[in-house]
C-alpha cells in the first residue's frame, strides 16, 4: 500500500528556504511573488494492512518536527 505525508511549517514559523526561493525568483525577474512556503512530501511504500495509527506514529517520531511543523497523511 502507498501513503503520502505532507509536511509544512506551521503558520507564523519563519521559512528561510521559502524566503530564499522568493528572493531568487525576484532576481530572475518574476515580479508579483508575494510569498513562498516550502515543505516536504514523503511517499511511503508500506506493507498491506499498515494502519494509519502506525503512519501517525512514524510522523510524530521521525517524519515531522511537530514543534514547528504540521503534517497531513494521505492513504492512497
Amino acid at each position: 500500500m502507498k501513503a503520502k505525508v505532507h509536511v509544512m511549517l506551521k503558520d507564523g514559523v519563519l521559512d528561510p528556504q521559502g524566503e530564499a526561493v522568493r528572493h531568487a525568483l525576484k532576481g530572475l525577474g518574476f515580479g508579483g511573488v508575494q510569498g513562498v512556503r516550502q515543505g516536504k512530501v514523503i511517499e511511503l511504500d508500506l506493507e498491506d494492512g499498515t494502519s494509519e495509527a502506525t503512519i501517525e506514529e512514524m510522523c510524530r517520531k521521525l517524519l515531522a518536527n511537530t514543534v514547528i511543523e504540521s503534517y497531513r497523511i494521505e492513504v492512497l
Copy 2:
C-alpha cells in the same frame, strides 16, 4: 492567488534522502517500510492574474531541476 508546485525525483533516480528515512524508520522499529521517496511542495502566493505559463517558467528556471525532477502545478 495561490499555487502549489509538487516536485518529485523522476522514477529511476536514486533518492538518498528517501533511503535515509527508510533506514531510520527501520531503526525505530517500523518494519514493513518497503520504500520511501521524498519530494518538495512549494506554496506560492502570487499576484492575481499570474498565468500558469509564468509558473511553468518559474519551475523550469528555478523550482525544479528538470533533468532529475518532475513537477506538477496546482493552481488553488
